[in-house]
Symmetry: D2
């Protein structure tokens, strides 16, 4: 394997590791590791909740998930010679669950989890319809995942890092805080919130300590959203074999990453929607000097996906438009259209015996495709969601015979406040 | 070929055909043709602007495109025995340009067009950045399309009907008019408009005439948006081999379709973004009695795409988030995120020598994938757009050597008010 | 459509057409049509047996199939300026069944056929195991084929010309006749024969007549085998979108083609193994002057397949080695290995209720993959055959529950001497 | 990771390991490990030459490769309850190079090799044209392989075990020895040999010793060929995610495996044609009791390939027929046809600057497709070989501009007697 430059001990919490990573974005978090352009290396990644979620049949851990503590990122990795204006080339050579450990209490040790966050603790894409907390545990067997909480499905993981990005410059960080603060100010009491301001509570900032820690913790941006630096993009297609080009905003680039997913559907709709896990990632890095200007990539990653994503050739697809469940017409709202498409898929799957929550958990974690099919046909967007039929062990297409009925088993664990 | 039940003469306007179709949705437009469950048949389809767009190097026709006249639909086709509550199975057996005619003045006769609508006449997904009218003519050679207006690209068409649907019931039509009227009322003078109310001017209603014509024309819904009945979904993956399941709202179902596209990218972002053409479609229809309840499909089509879509294995992809160009943070707005991703792609392609308009026209018409990658990471959505690299005749990936420069040729015809 | 340069009337035999094609290879068969480099054109193709096979439930026509009369080729097409040493670029823009005719007595009018030739009249890949004649009729619905003779399967056609090639030079023709004659001479009475010598009986030679006809008929090569000029390669992947490069041996190149297949498995194992049909093909031709030397392509076509072949993602595969059914060890014989793999597939399918002949007909015509997996592991080759599982309407993978049993229906029509 | 039941120390030879595997087939080689149906486990695999091939620029090791010593197999694994007549289900959950070791002197530690065997020491598919020994070293970077000996190509590995099988029964072993002996007897002095008889020299037989070792060594079959038990099938598509069904011939089944390949083209044409390596494999085993009869699988594995094989969408393909280079016509000889197709591909690649040996090594190891396109068109078979164009870093399709010329670098190391 490539040289392991960021090692984690599965038995210890994130802050007790030999090298401590971080869970906020800030230019002044010191690099944990320095590499050269052309280097290949391995890093371990902690599952995003630092072990707070358990392989059991209760959803209390999801209900009370410590949102202030996410995401436990590996890094920053400084790349020698990187300067603002460069493009950082990151090749994802390999990525997977915790190597050599396929059982144990930590997600990534042969299993992972998907959660529906409660509306009062994070919410999700369909939080109005699903305000309570639910959980599904997925067992890994090689590339495949199955769940005792969502039976009769099995699919090939589309493994990827949910989060990867470079450090922001001070100016960029200030921009983030200003614009997100302005949004929050429009409805500061909203539940779930419109955005997350800097939050010193729970902040982990690598090797910083003392007053410098306090200063940075007060300014540092949360890791939840994707931004100009890449970040929590949750792009399911950043699988191994992918090449990503990140803009560089600070000397050294300061690359960080984590939030590994064994699988995820487009949108990661339950918020904790992927199959979350810890694991490893092997990267190769290089630079295109001055590439931001040369290629016009001044913000947000561009990328070339790998060529070993799981192949499916038959899909059952659902469409939705931007009309609310209450019948209100919205103007070209693809998020609403995608919600409606997902709700249609959920409604359909319940006809086969699944609970709505099982279907929702399935859509969040399976390799479904979510497409912006029509975005100009006023006033309705059309969004579509495609589910591969081969993941089911029963025939899932409509027929004159009507749906078969599966045994939904014990169902998805449930918890509410 | 299957029996031709709806024939069009390319040399005559839509209203002068043997059977006159329609360009509005209303339950009282009489069926033009009646078929039985299990039947297979062919229909011709008129290009959506009824021949108003020409194979030339001027964009004046796009600038003044007669939006009141669209879409020129073939139908309604009544299916014997269909009743509200049924699911109508439609197999798209084949679809293509006007058969046996590969040259001539009508789109579909060996060529098609893509337009950027002017902001003052329809607009489009990026109308703020592209307020003027532009056009690209595409020439067909078998499955492939090339353009003198967008050189150095060639791609395999992903042929599909942009629009297909069943007739609304009176109640459903009333719902549409009410909710869309309410939206319009929030900003009735907006340019482009928020939605399109019933518009007797330009209405074509099949065999209706006289007072009945006037009544229906005053009530009938425009065909621009997709709605509960399917309609103008612009789903690029409804290619031949697809099976679609439509809810039935009126006795006979009254299926209509048109707006054939030789190719289209997800979103059809320039509004007239596909490669528009007339042509033919071969359909097989059948019924699942009571299927709406049985399968929970009470609105919006569900479908199973065909398995002969063009295959590409290498993509260059762009991401965007829901921050405006002015730096304002929006809350989980995937449309904005997709706009930003598309603008990033356009910016990138200009580095190779394309004009922004050429790049925009390309994104509208090529088989690009538009995905809702992240929809829950507050406050930013992440949308991604994937362009197959093989459609270019030059290397399009970033490299240390910088981009090659292509000759953009004569460029895309331009017109403005 | 492109200009139709070679038109066929479905109601008339091959020799009664306006332009008469040919069924032998010879440099002196005059061009029927002349085109220029860069031209695009359409040609009709006669089904290879000129209408001798009927859409019925008898295999007598297969039993007595007039082998001397094949293949009824369209051409020759002379390409202006083509000279020996050039490479002829042929783009297959489109190919399909007889346009505008989907019912009628001629294969290609909405239907096609697969035959197992009797050992006494042609034989086939497994003729020792299947010495009698059998037939299956396939009905086309858009891209799909189904058969009353092989129920419970449906697959997307992989439409292609079985035969396409350039005319041989006199020297090349002499080489063919010499080497094939030498082979025949080793066992001239063999049934089926080792090869087919020139055969004036049944010869069709375009516009030739009189003494010239007699001379050419006595020399001209049969069209059964593929040779240096391309010819009857039966490459299932020469689908639309393919670009083929043929060596040019005579001035004008003299391109001919035919033997259209709606579908075929690798090997076309029943001899008449594809789904045979008449139809049309749209071609674009061009030249690489001197390309044979420049690219080292002095014989046999090279090609780039299209990108719209039907996609399947799950396969059931069978392997075989070069040991005879009698247990004799042969040395690295991939034909034998493929025979054994195919026999294994047939044995397997009979466990689900098919007759061996139905399974054999299926393997000949469905889009199966036949691969030379191991060719060096002395003394056994390993060949593999892959069947897409999605073509069956029942679960076809092995399981602990054992195979389901389908109703094989009326079975494949049978005839023997 | 799954429990490691067969561990290898990379620094020790095969016979010095804690558990000693075997390199011959015999029913009396005792199981090294016993597992239960339903078990999942990991095993290490030694590279097939036990470390005799080095990461250097000499081909002397290939020239003198110790053929008597292959293949160093892991196993036998007894499966509790397996009885003759059962089908053994083997799921390949994962397979890859030596875990956690990416540099070192043993193939599998970050690198692998492809060899052309000398005609006097093994030979290969094209040994008449390539009688000397050559070698290429491939470096792994994640899923990709590149070589200093074959520059300008890079491809995604299609990782698989070249060899896996169950133990033969005494009767089956006797059959093998009899039929292969009979073949050898037809030309016992042939170079390379027709087949390999039992060879005590170099035999490794697990825990056997003394007289029992001598008896078994004298009877045991060599592992080179694939046979009824699976064995050295070299099926490149047995990648992770595959499910294989093996016939069971002895109580316990006694499964063994090895000969891991990082990549291989269909046919493994240079004999040592894959990218050879040591590594690991994770398996899940289960039984279908009585499955051999139930499913008609009495010999040779059947299998369902995984769905994450590398995807390529553009190919340059070559065809060949069964005529020798000397112009002799052979009868339906697909091996010869495939040789000719491969020689055509080699000839073509040399026009771009590669040496013939570089091209040959490339065809052996890259994920090329080798298909039996036509096997019935007397007297010529047609075989085809497909090379993905995306593996080259230069345009490889024919064009009017002629081929670009690459720098072939240091070339492939060469050695001869």
């Amino acid at each position: 394997m490539p040289e392991l430059l960021f090692s984690l001990d599965s038995s210890k919490p994130f802050t007790a590791q030999q090298i401590v990573g971080h869970n906020r974005w800030h230019p002044d978090i010191p690099p944990a590791v320095t590499v050269k352009p052309g280097d290949t290396f391995r890093a371990h990644c902690r599952e995003w909740f630092d072990g707070a979620i358990h392989n059991d049949d209760s959803a209390n851990d999801i209900l009370n998930a410590p949102l202030n503590n996410v995401h436990t990122l590996s890094g920053p990795f400084a790349i020698e010679g990187a300067q603002p204006g460069d493009l950082l080339i990151v090749d994802i050579l390999d990525v997977g669950p915790i190597p050599q450990e396929d059982s144990g209490p930590l997600a990534g040790q042969g299993w992972g989890y998907t959660g529906i966050f409660a509306k009062l603790n994070g919410g999700g894409f369909l939080t109005e319809q699903f305000p309570d907390a639910y959980k599904a545990i997925w067992d890994f067997a090689g590339q495949s995942a199955t769940s005792r909480h969502v039976p009769h499905v099995k699919y090939t993981g589309i493994v990827h890092p949910g989060l990867m990005g470079t450090a922001p410059s001070p100016q960029l960080l200030a921009t983030w805080n200003a614009r997100e603060g302005a949004l929050i100010a429009t409805d500061p009491e909203r539940v779930p919130p419109l955005a997350l301001p800097p939050e010193p509570s729970g902040a982990i900032l690598g090797s910083l300590s003392g007053a410098e820690f306090d200063r940075v913790a007060a300014e540092a941006a949360r890791t939840a959203p994707p931004r100009e630096n890449g970040g929590n993009q949750d792009i399911k297609n950043l699988t191994k074999g992918s090449r990503v080009f990140y803009p560089v905003f600070v000397p050294g680039a300061n690359l960080s990453f984590g939030d590994l997913h064994f699988s995820q559907g487009d949108g990661e709709i339950t918020f904790c929607g992927a199959i979350e896990m810890g694991g490893f990632i092997d990267l190769h890095v290089d630079l295109i000097k001055g590439g931001m200007e040369t290629y016009g990539v001044t913000e947000n990653a561009i990328f070339m996906p790998g060529n070993t994503d799981p192949q499916y050739s038959e899909w059952i697809a659902f469409s939705g438009t931007s009309v609310t469940l209450d019948g209100e017409q919205r103007y070209l709202d693809s998020d609403l259209a995608y919600q409606r498409a997902c709700l249609h898929a959920i409604e359909y799957l319940t006809k086969f015996g699944y609970s709505p929550e099982q279907a929702y958990l399935l859509l969040g974690s399976a390799p479904i495709e979510g497409r912006l099919s029509g975005v100009v046909d006023i006033p309705n967007s059309c969004a579509t969601v495609y589910i591969p039929t081969a993941i089911f062990d029963f025939p899932v297409a409509p027929s004159k015979d009507g749906p078969v009925r599966i045994d939904p088993g014990i169902g998805a664990p449930h918890a509410s406040f």
